[in-house]
């Protein structure tokens, strides 16, 4: 009998709890929704993780309605919208190729504030599912905790692939892929037991890419599509600090050169045109077909006195995969100058159509140059454009293409000028670029709380076939392979 009475009471309680008080006033706002991150009016890939967002205002509730052409999705929260992964996936599947209106409102006191809708264009072109990056605090000279992480872009799963706390706290450089493929990648670990870790099909090798001929070792690199070679710049890097309020760090090379590492016979080699002491060479990048090597080049100046007159151009040279050596003449395809700026980080799209690169006012360390923007070169005619939709008034730098050449990721400091985050931008078949969006996080407040910068974001179609345990074993238990 008691139970019979209890059930209606519980039901009534639940019903009462689930009822929300109706707001006394409904206000249609004119200004855009005050959400963070800025996910307004963007193009997104059909396979991206839920775009959770929040508001910083003191509100009692936020609500969102994603109105698609065939279906809709609703969500609400205290001051954050966190979509269910399952509902999101279903919604995205049904609305792929469609434009979705995002109706956002929030309850503040007795008022329900309705904001004008913004739109998400769900692109049928998917983005590579995996992103790797280095997590580092944007310091000056001292580093402490560095991690390389792999993120699944289709959900919120992350996986540590290296943590320097277990690697003698050695400095670790960023991780790069070959062919956007998880089974071909490399990165450097410094320190006494360090070396370049090469991953080919999950087999990890520790390489000593340094010898008497190439004392500065290997720094910035690019893997040849064959996986047999990689091009590196050897840079003797000098950091300096700015005194002025808006600038932080300047890094330049005392000397630099380019070299080719061959991984089957363990050879390092170069040609005189790429080791000329009267020039500086850096940021090598193979074309997608592996027949050309792009890089940045500048005359060697007295530094740091002439740092503001240091302008890197973009050059290329043919590469013979049979001999594993660059051949022929160097061709300058973009001239650095006081008028045009200084180039860095050339990145070729896998379809061979575009060259994306950074341009700063001067120098070779664009990450700390607020004025750095991404430029897009159409390789067919050499035309260069500044994609305004993509760039910001803060540094927009290192980038990596998705396998289908429709998406690229880049590191941007646009939100606060200090902490770099991965932003994704779409480029359509006509070469038009769209407003980028930041890597979505399960908790949208994540970027407020984290003190890490995302360095060198790199896209890959498949997951890395190793984990940090395997890496630690290689680091601690194997000798570095020497190179002739």
């Amino acid at each position: 009998m008691r139970k019979i009475l209890l059930y209606p009471v519980i039901t009534a309680f639940l019903v009462l709890c689930s009822c929300r008080p109706e707001p006394a006033i409904r206000i249609d706002m004119q200004q855009p929704a005050p959400i963070y991150p800025d996910y307004t009016d963007i193009a997104i890939p059909c396979n991206i993780a839920p775009l959770n967002f929040g508001v910083r205002e003191h509100v009692s509730e936020v609500q969102v309605l994603l109105q698609g052409e065939t279906t809709h999705l609703q969500a609400s929260g205290k001051n954050k919208i966190q979509f269910s992964l399952k509902s999101w996936k279903k919604f995205m599947q049904q609305e792929t190729g469609n434009r979705v209106a995002v109706h956002f409102s929030m309850q503040q006191g007795d008022s329900l504030l309705n904001y004008p809708p913004f739109y998400w264009q769900i692109m049928p072109d998917s983005i590579d599912s995996y992103l790797s990056y280095r997590l580092i605090e944007p310091g000056f000279e001292v580093w402490n905790h560095l991690q390389l992480e792999e993120r699944n872009l289709e959900n919120f799963e992350t996986r540590l692939i290296a943590d320097n706390s277990e690697l003698d706290r050695s400095c670790m450089n960023c991780h790069i892929y070959g062919n956007n493929d998880g089974s071909l990648s490399l990165f450097h670990i410094r320190g006494k037991q360090g070396g370049t870790v090469l991953n080919r099909n999950g087999e990890l090798r520790k390489l000593q890419l340094r010898n008497e001929e190439f004392p500065a070792g290997a720094v910035y690199g690019s893997i040849h599509p064959s996986g047999r070679y990689a091009a590196f710049s050897g840079n003797h890097i000098i950091p300096e600090f700015h005194a002025h309020q808006n600038k932080r760090l300047e890094v330049y090379d005392e000397y630099s050169y380019l070299l080719i590492a061959e991984f089957d016979e363990n050879r390092l080699a170069s040609i005189p045109a790429l080791t000329d002491k009267s020039k500086q060479y850096t940021f090598p990048a193979f074309s997608a077909d592996g027949t050309q090597l792009y890089f940045c080049m500048a005359p060697a100046l007295e530094l740091p006195e002439n740092i503001d007159s240091l302008f890197y151009s973009i050059a290329r040279i043919n590469f013979d995969a049979a001999t594993g050596m660059p051949q022929g003449e160097i061709e300058i395809i973009w001239q650095g100058s006081r008028e045009t700026g200084s180039a860095s980080h050339p990145g070729l799209s896998p379809d061979g159509k575009y060259l994306l690169f950074c341009v700063a006012g001067y120098g070779t360390f664009p990450i700390w140059h607020r004025e750095t923007d991404l430029y897009l070169m159409h390789l067919a005619d050499g035309e260069v454009e500044l994609p305004a939709a993509v760039n910001s008034d803060r540094s927009d730098t290192y980038h990596s293409w998705s396998s289908n050449s429709r998406w690229f990721v880049f590191a941007s400091k646009r939100d606060d000028g200090l902490y770099g985050k991965p932003y994704f931008a779409y480029i359509d078949s006509t070469g038009k670029t769209y407003k980028p969006f930041v890597l979505p996080q399960k908790d949208p407040e994540w970027y407020d709380l984290t003190l890490k910068s995302y360095n060198i974001p790199e896209l890959a179609g498949s997951a890395l076939p190793f984990d940090r345990r395997k890496l630690e074993k290689v680091y601690h238990q194997t000798q570095s392979e020497t190179f002739k």
Binding site: E137, G139, F140, E141, V142, W143, N144, H145, L160, D163, S165, E166, E240, F241, H242, A243, H244, Q245, N246, K247, R248, E250, P304, I307, D415, D416, G417, L418, Y419, D443, D448, L449, L451, R468, E472
Partner: protein, 589 residues
């Protein structure tokens, strides 16, 4: 009253006296160590913080320790917390002794672990997570001892306690394992079951190692770290003798109490001997553990960071500081009170490093030095030193003090979004929230910043033009700072102080005229001494002296020169009378 009642009363009163002693020690004598500890963490009331701390074996202890450490912001509360933790440990150790049927006569021995922990905490890198973990482990030992005659219950207790304790207390759970090993071994041996004793011993040790091995699968730490412990000391996986001894004493002391109880010596003699031994060990151990030199730096640093310039000078007047960092704090206080030129050489000076310390790859020294750069208006350098100091904290923790300074430097530099990031994190704290709320109002509010005297002054004092800063050319950096802001009197005093400390009088003479526009009412004493020294190098008398030099200085230099020229070993004589002059520094330091 029977003797046993007397000892019971002593065992009840002694913890209160012990707590009082600890309270006074930490609240009065060592309070700057508490400030020091508080600044190297940033306890936030967020789920992310809880998660990040608790994902480590022992994380719950570390989280509780962090929570308690934030109260060190008020040293008396911090002292009370430490006193309480020490007394809890003592009570648990005493309880274990009594469970072993130890006599109350030897109850004072139970203070030994707490004394060891007291000494451990005198190390500036010791973290109270070890104390919390130890309390959990001792509590588990007490629970385990509730089943003296029931092996099954004890086994259940061990099986449940081991994983739970490892999660809660971390590798200090070996305390519990050690206790159980000794107890089980003894129990088996009492029944003359040697094989059984060895089996129990082996199984317990195996279980103790197995759990960290399993933890390796779910945490990011290597086995060595998981076995030895991670969050008990600021340098992960590093142990001090005192820390290890404190934990070992927790196991050994109850058995020691029991051992003494079995002796047939008279109660009174045993009690007096125990009292003498514990008091003697406690005094010597704690006295040896305290480091007055470090305490001096922490004291000067705290007074400097809180802008108590008069208090810094008063400390120096009592006893001149000797460490470079303390001297640097004193010089800043003198400069802030417009006394640097007058009084710099009244105190011990150790050269330019004591005026404006260069960068060191450390988590504390740059934090102290940043105060000088900040006050001078070298905001980017202050920011760099602060950032690098925080980055160098060995256990990857964040620093509330660094967050505050980074917020300030970014506000001054107009980097409001970055400042907001630090301030928002501080809003999640207990004692920095109010400050963060206030400072957030400055973000993006130019007129509010202009109305804040300190921020407005520092904005005006900064470099105007950009150049690449050089740590090794400090004189040029100070010169540029002054050249770009001719009203920056602090920069002028540091520039002149730098040349004086560097014994570069030619450069001093070059820069000296820049002070004409600084509204000095008189020529500061050390400048007078330098000027007159230079004059006497080129002129036979004071005729035509272009500066207004005081009679005392004129007489002084004559006498100084006379003693210097006439005496065979003038240093001792001159130190007596002229040890606080620039001349003495110039010629003898």
């Amino acid at each position: 009253m029977k003797h046993s009642n007397v000892y019971s009363s002593v065992n009840r009163i002694a913890p209160i006296l012990f707590a009082l002693a600890a309270l006074l020690w930490w609240g009065l004598a060592n309070k700057y160590l508490l400030y020091y500890q508080e600044q190297f963490q940033l306890f936030q009331f967020t789920f992310d913080y809880l998660k990040s701390r608790c994902l480590v074996p022992g994380g719950i202890s570390f989280y509780i320790a962090d929570f308690l450490t934030q109260f060190y912001y008020y040293p008396w509360i911090g002292a009370a917390i430490i006193a309480l933790l020490l007394v809890i440990i003592r009570q648990l150790v005493f309880r274990l002794g009594r469970l072993l049927k130890a006599d109350a006569t030897y109850g004072l021995l139970s203070f030994l672990p707490s004394i060891a922990f007291w000494a451990f905490l005198c190390d500036e890198n010791a973290l109270s997570g070890l104390l919390i973990g130890t309390i959990f482990s001792l509590a588990a030992c007490c629970i385990y001892m509730r089943f003296p005659g029931n092996l099954t219950n004890r086994v259940i207790c061990i099986l449940v306690s081991l994983p739970v304790l490892y999660v809660v207390a971390g590798s200090v759970y070996f305390l519990f394992i050690a206790w159980a090993v000794i107890y089980e071994f003894r129990e088996a041996m009492r029944r003359k079951e040697v094989a059984h004793a060895l089996l129990r011993l082996g199984l317990l040790v195996l279980a103790g190692i197995l759990i960290p091995l399993l933890a390796q699968l779910v945490t990011q730490y290597a086995f060595a770290g998981l076995l030895s412990g991670i969050g008990y000391y600021r340098f992960p996986q590093l142990y001090t003798f005192t820390g290890l001894a404190a934990v070992a004493l927790c196991v050994a002391t109850p058995w020691l109490m029991r051992g003494f109880s079995l002796l047939k010596s008279p109660e009174k003699r045993g009690f007096i001997l125990t009292l003498t031994a514990v008091a003697g060990i406690g005094f010597v151990w704690i006295y040896k553990a305290a480091d007055p030199m470090k305490e001096e730096i922490m004291r000067y640093d705290y007074l400097t960071k809180t802008g108590q310039w008069n208090a810094v000078i008063a400390e120096a007047e009592k006893k001149s500081p000797t460490s470079p960092l303390s001297v640097a704090c004193l010089n800043l206080a003198l400069a802030k009170n417009n006394q640097l030129g007058d009084r710099m050489f009244e105190f011990y000076q150790n050269g330019p490093e004591g005026l404006i310390p260069s960068f060191k790859r450390d988590f504390y020294a740059p934090l102290v030095s940043n105060e000088i750069y900040y006050q001078l208006g070298m905001i980017n350098t202050a920011q760099r030193f602060t950032f690098e100091a925080m980055e160098a904290i060995p256990d990857y923790r964040k620093s509330s003090r660094a967050f505050r300074r980074l917020a300030e430097t970014n506000l001054i530099n107009g980097q409001y979004k970055v400042a907001e990031k630090y301030l928002r994190a501080l809003q999640h704290t207990l004692f920095h929230k109010k400050w963060a709320d206030t400072m957030l109002k400055y973000a993006g509010n130019e007129s509010a910043i202009a109305g804040n005297p300190e921020m407005a002054r520092l904005r005006k004092s900064r470099y105007i033009n950009d150049f690449l800063y050089s740590d090794t050319e400090m004189e040029d950096m100070l010169g540029l700072l002054l050249a770009q802001n001719p009203e920056n009197r602090l920069a002028f005093e540091y520039l002149l102080g730098y040349t004086l400390q560097n014994k570069d009088l030619e450069r001093f003479m070059t820069y000296y005229p820049l002070g004409r526009t600084m509204n000095y009412t008189h020529i500061p004493k050390s400048y007078q001494e330098a000027l007159i020294y230079m004059w006497t190098q080129q002129n036979p008398n004071f005729n035509g002296l272009p500066w207004s030099i005081s009679r005392n200085v004129l007489d002084g230099v004559s006498e100084f020169a006379h003693i210097y020229m006439k005496q065979k070993q003038p240093e001792a004589i001159l130190k007596e009378k002229y040890g606080k002059t620039y001349w003495y520094y110039l010629l003898f330091v």
